[in-house]
């Protein structure tokens, strides 16, 4: 029977029941691999429920540093009888299935193309530990021990991690280590270890992995730190998965880093609002009054915020919104990932609006872009929305370490203080003095007689006086368009890389791929796969809306551009067509919207099929051919 082989290159998946403490054991497993210097990307796939339902943890190990999902499972660890049938079925032929053999495996779960390893986890723990909670918790550690044997995990790394985790609690450390060893020895004693898939420290990692120091963290924590470093002082939110941990983390860091050393008082405020309308209302009120304020939410919250987002756009109030996207529409699948709020965010609210969006792809970018978002929102005096998602926000990602330039100066934008107000000749809140669509604002309480004005969501003239004149209205909204143009100068540019050399290209079309956020990693991987197959594809990673001019150029200089994203309707593609005036036929959607992150294999398959289909050949006229 075939055996899947591979050093530092495979997918392990755990099938657990939620609420049984498996998360920390699974994390231990992933982090140990990470500490061995081997690229790893773990993903939690959990139900919208608190206890008792199936939950999975998928760990991809990839020497090349591919952090997106690959697709398929090489080794399954199943300790959940509820899902076992599905779990058995999902293993790749030649793969491995580790299960709790306390009960014998049901005959219908036997496949003859995969390898079974039964370990009586429950029995072992019942024998070993007196209380049921401990039995449940340590069972998870036992299977990690077994995996250490199966995959050759450095045992000292595991111990080191337990030491870090339970610092000072010796009893806990030793019971955990004991559980690890129990699993390890059982596996060693009963099976041939290690398996043909296994780990090797400092093995064959790609240069970009070997050369850079990495951290392992989730995007929500990174965004929270970005808000801390970016100087946010007011956070208002309403709990909603998967954005909840953004403000949780912000609060925790702020409690450590934002306490006034003299008085012990807080240099920040966190308000758990009564709903999302209130959450963004608080942030807007705070932004109006001169602090950096933000809120974090997910789909349903974004919908609820749309009236307020229209106000902030039209009344030009700085506010940052972190949208950690999940599967929509409506309640959808709250614990599954998607990139499906693009249009809802870009055009949030009735009337003519355009909102500034940022698309981070790594925790490092969650950090940088959140911090930047505060500069941007104050510079542009318009909401800035960070478009993260569950996959990025709640899973641990390898990421370059966070960096901070201590010379950073906050860009508070065009705010006049008392002295400037005294000096300025003629001030009007909406006078476009600089021609960039951005006007000078003032804060309440600044000056005894100058600079007071009325902020409103209704139409006004340049002097901020209420006006229903059509001319005033048009002047104002045209200026807002001008400002949106200006925004292009400030938002992060898209990223391109040198093309991958392809020896015998199978096509003479100039191909490109556009993607963003969590679609990026698997897209890069798919492009490499396709390059090997003879399809050279240039890439551009979108990092912000409004789009930079170089994106138009990219599209125009390619015959066919794949837009890779995780929603049903190809929302980013639509936004591009809308805003860049691109012939739609040029842009081909590559979509995944099942709720679990898109895989490199799927991307490659769709692109390959498109290129091989007659349609593509018929419809696309190469730019560089002679026919036109």
């Amino acid at each position: 029977m075939k055996k899947i082989k591979g050093i530092n290159d495979f997918v392990v998946k755990f099938a657990n029941v939620n609420g049984t403490g498996s998360a920390s054991a699974n994390h231990l497993f992933a982090k140990a691999i990470f500490r061995m210097g081997i690229p790893v990307s773990p993903r939690n796939i959990f139900p919208s429920n608190i206890q008792g339902l199936p939950t999975w943890y998928e760990v991809r190990v990839s020497a090349k540093g591919y952090l997106g999902r690959r697709g398929g499972v090489d080794l399954m660890v199943c300790v959940n009888p509820q899902s076992m049938e599905k779990d058995v079925a999902s293993v790749e032929p030649g793969g491995y299935f580790v299960y709790d053999s306390t009960k014998p495996l049901a005959p219908h779960l036997k496949r003859d193309d995969i390898h079974y390893f039964g370990i009586p986890f429950t029995q072992m723990c019942m024998r070993e530990y007196p209380n049921p909670r401990l039995q449940q918790l340590l069972k998870n550690v036992v299977y990690v021990g077994a995996l250490a044997a199966f995959l050759d995990i450095d045992f000292s790394v595991l111990k080191g991690l337990l030491n870090d985790q339970f610092k000072g609690k010796e009893r806990l450390i030793s019971s955990n280590v004991h559980a690890l060893e129990m699993g390890y020895h059982y596996a060693r004693d009963h099976f041939k270890c290690p398996l043909p898939i296994r780990l090797k420290k400092g093995g064959n990692s790609a240069p970009h992995i070997r050369e850079s120091e990495h951290i392992l963290m989730n995007g929500n924590t990174a965004a929270a730190l970005g808000a801390i470093y970016g100087g946010a002082t007011v956070a208002a939110w309403y709990p909603i998965t998967p954005s909840t941990s953004v403000v949780d983390a912000f609060s925790q860091y702020a409690e450590r880093m934002r306490i006034d050393p003299g008085s012990g008082k807080r240099n920040f405020a966190v308000v758990q609002a009564e709903d999302e309308l209130a959450a963004i209302g608080v942030a807007i009120g705070a932004g109006w009054n001169g602090v950096r304020a933000f809120t974090a939410t997910s789909g349903p919250g974004l919908s609820l915020m749309s009236e307020f987002l229209g106000l902030a756009y039209f009344a030009e109030i700085p506010v940052v919104l972190i949208d950690v996207q999940r599967s929509g529409p409506s309640t959808g699948m709250p614990t599954r990932s998607q990139q499906s709020d693009i249009l809802a965010a870009a055009y949030a609210s009735h009337g003519d609006t355009k909102q500034v969006l940022l698309f981070p792809a790594t925790p490092r970018e969650c950090f940088d872009m959140t911090a930047d978002a505060f500069d941007l929102t104050e510079r542009l005096q318009t909401p800035v929305i960070l478009m993260s998602d569950l996959d990025l926000g709640m899973n641990d990602w390898m990421s370059p370490p966070l960096e901070w330039d201590d010379d950073y100066q906050m860009d508070r934008g065009k705010v006049l203080d008392a002295q400037q107000l005294d000096e300025v000749e003629k001030w009007g809140r909406y006078l476009d003095v600089d021609g960039d669509g951005i006007c000078y604002r003032t804060l309440p309480g600044t000056h005894p007689d100058k600079g007071a004005y009325f902020t409103r969501g209704s139409s006004k003239n340049e002097m901020a006086v209420y006006s229903e004149s059509g001319d005033d209205y048009v002047q104002n909204v045209d200026r807002l368009l001008r400002k949106f143009e200006t925004a292009k100068k400030y938002v992060p540019r898209p990223k391109t890389h040198d093309p991958i050399p392809v020896k015998n290209p199978k096509t003479d079309l100039k191909l490109g791929a556009l993607f963003f956020g969590t679609s990026a990693s698997p897209s890069y991987e798919a492009v490499e796969m396709l390059a090997k197959e003879g399809y050279p594809i240039d890439t551009m990673r979108i990092r912000a809306f409004p789009f930079h001019a170089s994106m138009d150029a990219f599209i125009h200089s390619h015959d066919l551009v794949f837009v890779i994203e995780q929603n049903r309707d190809g929302q980013m593609r639509r936004l591009i067509i809308n805003e860049c005036e691109i012939p739609p036929g040029k842009l081909v959607s590559v979509l995944n919207y099942s709720g679990t992150p898109i895989t490199a294999r799927k991307i490659a398959r769709i692109i390959r099929e498109t290129l091989q289909s007659d349609d593509a050949k018929a419809n696309v006229v190469p730019l560089h051919s002679e026919t036109v």
Partner: protein, 349 residues
């Protein structure tokens, strides 16, 4: 359209402790209907701020949407103002107050803005005890959308078209008291003697101060059959008089022995309540609720300072917020710097 005109020339020239005249507290010319109760409230706010000698630019005005919510344009032209969206001023006010605790916040709303679309935010604003004065100009209808019944329209009140309201009106003052508001007053736009000191006391109060002001809509809800008309309100009014004496200011009026009861606010200012025989206690929640209810049963609208917790802890205090306004903090206070970040990175390896 009506303009808040001074009754005498003299008072407009008088100066307050800061050297401002009352004109310094004027706003733009009102575009409300002539005779609208809201204009009297605007005047009362202006006068209260003048009397209490608050520097106009240290006040921030917030409102929702409605005729009432337009009011902030018509007083305190030297203050910043923010007309937000319908019913959501409470959240905007909360954010503003957190951003700069050093200003005085005046929120103006309508009964539609507060009791209908804004109900959820209103209750949570109370719960948070945000340090602000919140005035509802209560006319029992939606003025700006042409007179529909609002949620404070009384059961049985007859609309202009003749329809009888089949729903119980929400009594915002009772609701505020039950929900734990730390300062609750009720008044009438036509009773400036009571309204002005009430507003002054509200502004001095440390926490959420709510004033429900009956403010007749002359265009849509001032006919016979309306329970929020000028005449109906005047007929049924049961006012408790009061006086506000700021810290370190002398009492100007002399009251009959025993007829006055005093409450001292956290900043040392004093409220004098004049209603010898009522035995009304402003610090008794259930007592206040019962008194309002008894009033209702007797078809009387009890007005005045209904409830006050002089020891109120506002949101800023509850959140243990720094004394210095958050909007004055800079990079030094806010940004932990690269070293801290390095150690965080360390923990993530």
């Amino acid at each position: 359209m009506s303009y808040i005109k001074p009754k005498f020339r003299h008072p407009r020239l008088q100066k307050n402790a800061l050297g401002f005249t009352v004109a310094d507290y004027d706003g733009a010319i009102s575009t409300l209907c002539a005779g609208c109760g809201h204009d009297s409230i605007s005047a009362a706010i202006r006068n209260a701020c003048f009397e209490s000698a608050i520097p106009p630019h240290r006040i921030a005005k917030v409102s929702g949407i409605g005729c009432s919510s337009k009011m902030p344009t018509y007083f305190l032209g030297k203050s910043h103002g923010f007309n937000s969206v319908h019913g959501r001023m409470p959240s905007v006010a909360t954010g503003a107050s957190l951003a700069n605790r050093a200003l005085t916040y005046i929120g103006v709303s309508g009964d539609g803005d507060t009791a209908s679309i804004g109900m959820g935010q209103f209750i949570h604003l109370i719960r948070r005890n945000v340090n602000m004065t919140y005035i509802v100009a209560n006319n029992g209808c939606y003025g700006l959308t042409k007179g529909q019944d609002s949620a404070t329209a009384d059961l049985g009140s007859v609309a202009k078209g003749g329809a009888v309201n089949p729903f119980d009106g929400i009594d915002l003052a009772s609701l505020a008291i039950l929900q734990g508001a730390s300062f609750v007053g009720r008044s009438f736009s036509g009773d400036k003697e009571q309204l002005e000191p009430l507003i002054r006391a509200a502004m001095a109060h440390n926490g959420f101060a709510f004033i429900d002001v009956v403010s007749p809509c002359v265009t849509f809800n001032n006919h016979t059959g309306s329970t929020k008309s000028y005449s109906n309100t005047r007929e049924h009014l049961e006012p408790m008089a009061l006086d506000f004496v700021p810290m370190r200011e002398e009492i100007r009026t002399q009251y009959a022995e025993g007829s006055t009861q005093s409450v001292t606010l956290h900043d040392g200012s004093v409220i004098h309540l004049h209603k010898a025989d009522s035995g009304y206690k402003t610090d008794d929640r259930m007592g206040a609720l019962n008194a309002i209810q008894s009033g209702n049963d007797a078809d009387r609208i009890l007005t005045g300072l209904l409830y006050l917790d002089p020891n109120s802890k506002d949101l800023n205090t509850n959140l243990n917020l720094a004394t210095r306004p958050l909007n004055e903090l800079g990079r030094r206070e806010l940004c932990p710097g690269s070293k801290v970040l390095d150690s965080i990175n360390e923990g993530l390896r």
